[in-house]
Symmetry: C2
Subunit: 436 residues, 2 copies
């Protein structure tokens, strides 16, 4: 490995020789002295070099530096309170251009999101954007650690399927040897299969695909889905209890590891939610927003995005909470596999989780009784024959179970106050965005 000290680790070192490496963020090429801001994955530091009379190799190299070039630098660390950038600087002794950049950077911090995505590899050099993925790393790892510590099995379900996992709409088809495959819209079928297999509790963080023609800030054609599914539940209440516990673990880890930096770079405070999260039946939530002046303009029983924002405002005012479980969705707007209330088949044992006004997750108890499930398939006008591989899982016994799927990029968008999942996805994919 290149002998170097991470820039973030320089400050505690005594004055003396150091080696650093990174890319050139700015150059101030003055007559008497040259300044370079060098950035690596951990931070930025000022490089300084007094200019010799008549220039030399190093001063010429600095003068010729294209912004963005990767360089290795040897020099002397000096602590100096007057240096704005962390109170340290490195006096350059040698500078080696490892990989020069083209002279013109194609994007700036204020470029349009579309232009930035065209050059995402440069956009991610912005420490604000890089931080998002450090937060993602910590968040995911905390979720997985919680699950592993609680005896969950991690599964990798196939994304190539012989039948749609959710619906025939918004489905990518793949010519597959002599037949056709479909890209999984969710791991729904196969995380339920794990319950039939007696795995008990499983999780998966993986890709899901929707041929969704939407251009909103919340939709993508390919996204990272965070999924869990557990057996032996009594109702969706058990799923919600697990869901909020694992989220708290994730938020705590992020606050601990990045709270200060998120505050500094993004101007956002990472708040760890208290448990239990508020729960409001969907029908009641619609009444509440209506009482507060907004009648959801939908013919069906569902909420809409504006309604979600307004119920979140209510919850924030009433309970001081950023999250709310909307529960007991009408059967008419839920998929066939959601379990219905024993005493009211018009309602399901299900929920959406709303975070700061946006839906981030859907969860439910599943119908595990094959005879009831078959009735529900027919009730939705679906053909049991087309679902046979799925239905087969239930014919040899499945314990009561449920789970949730959650969009990772949405959680990060809302946690970090970003305006779109384009900002919190490594490489966004949308209807007209397949590059780079």
């Amino acid at each position: 490995m290149t002998d170097r000290t991470l820039i973030a680790d320089l400050a505690p070192l005594p004055d003396g020789p150091v080696a650093v490496a990174g890319w050139v963020e700015t150059v101030r090429d003055q007559k008497k002295v040259q300044f370079v801001v060098l950035r690596d994955e951990s931070g930025a530091v000022q490089l300084v070099r007094p200019r010799p009379e008549g220039d030399d190799e190093v001063s010429s190299a600095i003068s010729g530096l294209a912004l963005g070039s990767f360089v290795r630098v040897a020099g002397a660390l000096k602590h100096d309170e007057r240096v704005k950038l962390g109170g340290i600087e490195v006096k350059v002794e040698s500078l080696d251009v490892v990989a020069a950049s083209l002279p013109e950077q194609p994007i700036a911090a204020d470029s349009s999101i579309d232009k930035r995505l065209d050059h995402r590899f440069l956009d991610l050099r912005n420490p604000v954007n890089a931080l998002i993925f450090k937060v993602q790393t910590t968040f995911e790892h905390a979720l997985r650690t919680w699950w592993v510590q609680h005896g969950y099995i991690e599964i990798h379900t196939p994304k190539l399927m012989n039948s749609p996992s959710e619906s025939r709409a918004e489905l990518f088809q793949v010519p597959y040897f002599e037949t056709t495959a479909y890209l999984a819209q969710s791991p729904q079928h196969f995380k339920q299969m794990a319950q039939a297999a007696g795995f008990g509790k499983v999780f998966e963080i993986a890709d899901a695909f929707r041929a969704d023609p939407s251009f909103t800030a919340r939709h993508a054609t390919e996204f990272t889905s965070v999924d869990a599914e557990i057996s032996w539940i009594d109702s969706h209440e058990d799923v919600m209890a697990m869901h909020e516990a694992v989220l708290v673990a994730g938020f705590e880890a992020v606050r601990e590891a990045h709270g200060e930096e998120v505050e500094r770079l993004l101007g956002v405070t990472v708040e760890v939610p208290s448990t239990p999260f508020p729960r409001i039946p969907l029908a009641r939530a619609k009444e509440i927003v209506a009482e507060r002046g907004y009648t959801v303009p939908r013919a069906d029983a569902d909420m809409d995005p504006e309604g979600e924002r307004r119920i979140s405002d209510f919850v924030r005012e009433e309970f001081g909470h950023d999250f709310v479980f909307l529960t007991d969705y009408a059967t008419s707007i839920r998929p066939f596999y959601h379990r219905r209330h024993d005493d009211d088949p018009a309602l399901t044992n299900s929920y959406d989780l709303i975070y700061r006004g946006t839906e981030i997750s859907t969860g439910a108890q599943r119908e595990h009784r094959i005879d009831v499930l078959l009735d529900q398939v027919r009730d939705k006008g679906l053909d049991p024959a087309e679902l046979d591989d799925y239905l087969e899982f239930f014919r040899y016994g499945v314990p009561p179970h449920g789970g949730f799927g959650m969009g990772l990029a949405r959680v990060l968008m809302l946690m970090l106050g970003r305006s779109s999942i384009r900002e919190t996805t490594y490489l966004f994919r949308g209807p007209n965005r397949l590059r780079p």
Copy 2:
């Protein structure tokens, strides 16, 4: 949640009332007494019930139990050394059939692998098979934990691409709105993009797709790829050093958590490899197997599966090691992006990792210098225009970097002495296997 004690947690409890839940593995329905073996995700326990004269509700329920049905049982735990199954049994007081199975199980432990895969959800109830995925969970989590602790960023690269990531062969095409997408054969392009973005060190465990018509024990059309990529390396040696360190962390965690159970159920000892793993240049490896009587029957510079087995035998005999890095593959058999030796452009800074005779991984230093990379693209007869999105990553500077991709199911197959990745993949996908 259903009130129950995991079966594995019964033994330390005192005699007295317990509740358990799981599926029925066997029933011995005798005149004087009924025995049931009940299994859950943690283990199996014997249920016992003295049969009353003229039967009652519980004895009738037990008589009517279809194997595989999920049941809840309340009863009295009793320690009794004579009970073969763990020295405990539960005397049944009540038994509730939560979900009955069809009467006939379609597979048995000795069914063909193809038949077992048709009913994978039942096949995975076999504790031998379930154990594989508990091991997978521990192994992966240890890898990720090592990476997170060493400052790596986890990325989720898109699987929908506008150009092939590896080659035009074995490529799944997806109609994508007005255009065509390709399913990623590896995260190669995008983990390298993270180096251009200055992320420094990244990892990803995710799906990769190959339209590979092979039917071997080692190939699948969809597989879980374990990938890492790091900046500021001097050569592929730095990649190998990281690779072996993270593998050791994984093997240690598996031995610690499952070593005993793997020994008992699979008859295999989990061996933690010592570092450094042996390294042999590929050309020398071919000489060694030739000296030992096997001339690799290939016109090109590559090894073949038999050669890999034989060099592994040699390494086992000579160094007592299960792993060997074969290094410095010929340029002619490596992709355009592998960095070539400074002093011999016919060789690359690359390696394959062989574990117990089978290749599990390819790693390399990448060519990061855009001018050299362009030469190598042309040298391989490729069209730079087709690779433009990838090449663009290099035009604004990229530090020296390298990484590896490793097949998760192959590692597990070899670690656990299974005969095929079909056994170590949750739901195998092959040219004629898209179900369930």
